[in-house]
Amino acid sequence: MGKLLICDNVTKRFGGLVAVNRVSVEVSRGELLGLIGPNGSGKTTLVNLISGVLAPDEGRVLFEGRDITKLKPHERVALGISRIFQGMRVYPYLPVYYNVELSARSVFKDAKLARSKTIWALTTTKLLAETLELPANLTPYKIKMVELARALVTNPKLVLLDEPFAGLSPEEVSEVIEIVRKLNGNGLTFIIVEHKLRYLMKIVGRVVVLNEGRKIFDGAPSEAVNNEEVSRVYFGVV
């Protein structure tokens, strides 16, 4: 079977700045891939290119063998690519329930199916007690869970998490990791963006390292630590 996702030489420029420079990444089904790199190295931009929030200046994005470079974000969600944004991003004046259900409703035309999907996603992220709360009344961890629930509710094949651990306590981080692991065990593919290697080392099977828009490493986490260029970029950060 072919790869789930292929980024083929994608490039994105902002004026003179090349935020992502001819990056190629292949992701197999069921993988748990880490995407790391220093601040400003282009991780979020790459996520935006995969989720369709930005269009690449050059290169192609293939999903399940299909060229999706020209598709809009919502069309990619329907195909099975979900993402969460860096930071906390929810609809501030909608209760948790609607924050999650609207995505389900736009992917599944059957209202009843959408509702039961929503309940499933809220159960998986342990949010059932908070369905009626507004995001303003939630802890950062719970907000992350809302975002995760929204990403899961559309039946994704690939989930992109942009710095999901930022702002969470170590216990909360391990809770998130546990949920991710469980879903990954059921065959769901993840790309996790992190600034620091530390958290990812133990959970991902492979890391891709970006620096100044270029891919400088692609391989096992243990090798990444020993790689000269990666160490240079991460001097004192690892």
Partner: protein, 345 residues
């Protein structure tokens, strides 16, 4: 999770809750037969028609927060469509109302498509620009020749051919009362539909666009389609308002394009009543417009300045109370939805 939260309100309870509002509506509808003066019946008719504009504004702008300042364009286009269909094709206004509204909605849709595609300020500015340009066009050469210029276009109003057969004494009352009941019926139907739509999943998708459009798009919502459908539906409401008003009150002049006439009262009502809540703006519509009418005698044109100042103050204060109300309403909507789900399971 508590059972209490998910408890479904019983049918009887629901009806009992609605009773006071139904009573108010019944009294309102009885006003003309209880001897309200012709002048005030006409005022209330106007206010009923304005409710359509207010609802239209609330349905789209109140939820997506894309401010549609082009409402006077849509209202004016259907008003002129009524007049032109009558003048050039000889179609009586009775039959021209729906076609005119449709023409105007399609026209608005066509002009606004490009600006719905892009995020940000473009839509509002384009919408502000349209009616003012049209007002200028209508009165300038060569368009004024066909569009009636300053004097506008006149034609026999709604039901006039029938009213003429009545004795002179009854004629005026017949026209006033029939206009009132038609406008009230349309307004009530529009209110119920808007309420349903605004609190449906589609309504919430429009709200999600207002709260974070990029997030909505990236999490699966086809924001362009939602905006397009929402905008067209909302335009149709404004267009019906324009057509009804024109059918009842010839002649049609460029005044319909002036925002102070056709936008400001509704905008004030929407802000005062709480954007996107439907209930609030509908109540505020009647309060602000009746006051607006009363103020005409006291303040004359200064009333516009007064309303503008009020608008600024309201927007800057944005009373939390309304948001809170919306939140309560949402809570109820969610709990019924979930309880229904558990029932089915």
């Amino acid at each position: 999770m508590s059972k209490l939260v998910f408890a479904k309100p019983s049918k009887i309870k629901k009806v009992r809750k609605l009773l006071p509002s139904l009573a108010v509506v019944a009294i309102y509808l009885a006003l003309p037969i209880m001897g309200l003066s012709g002048f005030w019946i006409d005022v209330l008719t106007r206010v009923n028609i304005f409710l359509l504009i207010t609802l239209s504004l609330d349905l789209y702008s109140g939820t997506t927060l894309y401010l549609n300042l082009g409402v006077p364009f849509t209202v004016g286009a259907s008003a002129y469509a009524i007049a032109l269909l009558n003048r050039y094709l000889g179609i009586p206004v009775e039959y021209a109302i729906l076609p005119s509204a449709a023409i105007s909605a399609v026209l608005s849709f066509a002009i606004f498509i490009p600006s719905l595609r892009v995020r940000g300020a473009y839509f509002s500015i384009l919408s502000l620009l349209l009616p003012i340009i049209l007002a200028g066009l209508v009165t300038s050469q060569p368009f004024s020749l066909y569009l009636g210029g300053e004097g506008g276009i006149s034609y026999p109003p709604l039901f006039f051919s029938y009213a003429r057969t009545l004795p002179a004494r009854e004629r005026l009352f017949f026209l006033s009362a029939s206009y009132f009941y038609i406008s009230a019926a349309v307004a009530i139907v529009a209110y119920v539909i808007c309420y349903k739509v605004a609190y449906s999943d589609f309504g919430f998708m429009m709200r999600s666009i207002g709260q974070d459009e990029l997030l909505a798009e990236a999490s699966g919502i086809d924001t362009f389609r939602v905006k397009l459908v929402g905008f067209t539906a909302s335009s149709f409401l404004s267009a019906v308002a324009g057509a009804l008003y024109a059918a009842m009150r010839p002649p049609v002049t460029a005044d319909v394009f002036i925002p102070a006439n056709t936008l400001v009262p509704s905008l004030t009502a929407v802000i005062l009543g709480g954007m996107g809540t439907v209930v609030g703006p509908a109540i505020a519509n009647h309060l602000t417009l009746i006051t607006y009418e009363v103020l005409w005698g006291v303040l004359g044109r200064w009333r516009i300045i007064l309303y503008m100042c009020l608008l600024i103050v309201l927007v800057l204060l944005r009373p939390q109370g309304f948001v809170f109300y919306l939140y309560l309403r949402l809570k109820r909507a969610v709990s019924t939805k979930i309880s229904r789900l558990f029932e089915g399971a």
